[in-house]
């Protein structure tokens, strides 16, 4: 299949306006504002059944249709706070082809008749934000943003905003609070961002992920039917899979949903980094979803949102952290427990306390000081956290531990000193690692 989202990844200097335009750039936006009403744009995206690529998979067209038409102030907030371990697709899109994302953002802005677009970049995207700022000035000169855009009478500004290192700001309501200069912590919903009172500065706001918006120019140019020819009926269109860890060729791979794991992991990512070894397991949505053991049968399963649920996991943002045989799954879970403990924003008690205690127990286990009861304690703590906070971070934090406990319980047991003496060996090798990792 030809790439759609990454179609210009081999074009030199595609980050320059003229090059992007020579490759069809801004034709979708020009077409939309001259030939289509804002409602036509929403309907086209709705018909294409584009689903949000940030992880939740909500219908993008529906999200746009929720925005009240009679509000004088409306915003688009672009979520470029890509922070999930294993995820690096938005970075490539923004770094390499910023105008594609800007065009998608402006199509969304036109569709809801937004007064301004804010692009919330994670703070570490320092250089990316600087490049976006330059691109925004070029767009202003071309009258593609600013006052009375292309003579339509509609005006819309675009700004970047830098975060400063907080995973939680990828959660949409926390991101909006952060942009407002408040602590980046999730809000109570309703009101939802699309509603007056719930969005940026409490105005109606569409929040979309970078990759989601990068789909929109192609959909406007080629129509919803062409888009739906790709992928599955429930999840049409292309998806960027980020592959990291023990593969020969880590990177971003664009595929329609419905291809097999084998195709992605072997044909594209080149198989195991060490050809002598086989794959053991993968985390399909970064740190936030349960682990999936890699087996011969599993490799032939088509990758769709539905099939990942059947594997007791989730496709989410499709960021595959791949692990080879011999990888210590307790250590992997411990790494992720550290991550979530660090990134819990502290607002909701079950998540703040739960991530702390999960890490305490994991630390005890990995130091060889755990007991068999600790495994039940963690399962119990995870149950107390699940679904009990304002956002999903607390739920995510339980996934790596529950998933590894389910599939690799024997590895945990090997860490635990029992009467038979099992675990001592493990304790020695783990001791070094435990010293190397910090809390």
């Amino acid at each position: 299949m030809e790439n759609i989202l990454l179609r210009n990844r081999d074009v030199p200097d595609i980050h320059e306006f003229d090059v992007y335009e020579a490759h069809g750039g801004w034709s979708a936006f020009r077409k939309a504002v001259s030939e289509m009403s804002p409602d036509d744009v929403i309907k086209t995206v709705l018909d294409a059944n584009l689903r949000g690529r940030g992880g939740a998979g909500f219908s993008t067209g529906r999200k746009w249709s929720f925005i009240p038409k009679d509000e004088p102030i409306k915003y688009v907030a672009v979520n470029a706070d890509e922070s999930e371990p294993g995820t690096f697709k938005d970075r490539e899109l923004l770094e390499h082809n910023p105008y594609q994302v800007l065009e998608g953002s402006m199509l969304c802005a036109y569709a809801i008749q937004a007064t301004a677009v804010y692009i919330y970049c994670r703070g570490e995207f320092w250089d990316i934000a600087a490049n976006l700022d330059e691109a925004i000035e070029v767009l202003r000169e071309k009258n593609l943003i600013g006052e009375n855009i292309l003579g339509t009478g509609w005006s819309c500004e675009v700004y970047t905003h830098l975060g400063a290192g907080a995973y939680i700001c990828g959660e949409e309501s926390a991101m909006l609070s952060s942009l407002q200069g408040l602590l980046g912590q999730p809000r109570v919903r309703p009101p939802f961002p699309a509603q007056k009172g719930g969005g940026l500065y409490y105005e109606a706001t569409v929040v979309n992920n970078v990759e989601t918006l990068a789909n929109v120019p192609w959909i406007i140019n080629n129509g919803p039917d062409a888009y739906k020819e790709l992928g599955t009926p429930d999840s049409p269109g292309p998806k960027i899979f980020c592959v990291s860890g023990h593969v020969a060729r880590p990177g971003n791979y664009e595929l329609p949903l419905g291809e097999t794991f084998r195709h992605l992991l072997f044909d594209l990512a080149g198989g195991p980094a060490d050809p002598e070894k086989s794959f053991k397991a993968l985390l399909p949505t970064g740190a936030s979803g349960p682990v999936v053991p890699i087996t011969e049968e599993m490799l032939d399963i088509p990758m769709t949102y539905e099939n990942l649920i059947d594997l007791d996991s989730t496709l989410g943002s499709a960021s595959f952290i791949v692990m080879e045989e011999g990888t210590d799954m307790v250590w992997a879970a411990y790494k992720m427990a550290q991550f979530f403990k660090h990134e819990s924003c502290g607002k909701c008690t079950p998540c703040r306390e739960g991530t702390f205690w999960l890490l305490q127990v994991m630390t005890r286990i990995i130091k060889g000081e755990g007991t068999i009861e600790d495994l039940a304690t963690m399962e119990n703590a995870a149950r107390q956290m699940d679904g009990k906070s304002l956002c999903a971070l607390g739920d995510f934090a339980t996934s790596p531990i529950l998933g590894t406990l389910k599939h690799y319980r024997h590895e945990y047991e090997a860490y635990i000193v029992t009467d038979s003496g099992a675990g001592e060996q493990k304790q020695l090798s783990a001791g070094k690692k435990a010293v190397a990792v910090k809390q």
């Binding site: 922070s83 690096f88 975060g163 990291s244 860890g245 880590p250």
Partner: protein, 167 residues
């Protein structure tokens, strides 16, 4: 004072937002750029500019990891050690880097040039081991490259000192 020295930049920051309070994060970056870190005094300046209480500024500065409330080395090296990078040797790389520079986690070399610490995922898992140096990415690293980088920076600093203009 930031307000006088960077009047144009401060004005440009405020012009981006309908609510002054949104300027607190970009102004903290400006303060960090100017002073190298964010002191109580810098927070007070930001608070006055944004017209909020210094305590509120402090809570923002403390919430995010990219604002440093203590001085750092001239080169602030933050190594990603999350799982995807760790699978590709980031923990060992991080340890070797600290050993080479002779610092503990979060420590700064005695010449004031380098601070090393680990950091959470930087969205560059395909280019591990990697780090950010003063917020600019360095990717696909090994210790040989790092030693070369460190020695270059040391030589540069020595030259500057010999020429009598320390930065």
């Amino acid at each position: 004072m930031l307000a006088d020295k960077y009047a144009d930049r401060v004005a440009a920051i405020f012009a981006k937002y309908p609510d002054k309070r949104s300027a607190v994060m970009p102004l903290l970056y400006l303060a960090q750029e100017e002073y190298g870190w964010i002191s109580e005094e810098a927070m007070a300046q930001v608070a006055e500019l944004v017209d909020i209480d210094p305590t509120q500024v402090k809570s923002i500065a403390g919430f995010y990891t990219m604002y440093s409330e203590k001085p750092k080395g001239k080169y602030w090296l933050q190594v990603c050690t999350d799982l995807p990078c760790a699978l590709r040797g980031a923990d060992e790389f991080h340890q070797e880097l600290k050993d080479y520079l002779g610092v503990e986690e979060g420590g700064t070399t005695t010449d004031g040039l380098f601070t090393v610490e680990h950091v959470m995922c930087l969205a560059a898992c395909d280019k591990a081991p990697m780090l950010q140096c003063n917020f600019h990415y360095m990717e696909n690293l090994d210790m040989e490259q790092m030693k070369q980088f460190i020695e270059e920076k040391r030589a540069e600093a020595a030259r500057e000192k010999a020429n009598g203009h320390e930065e």
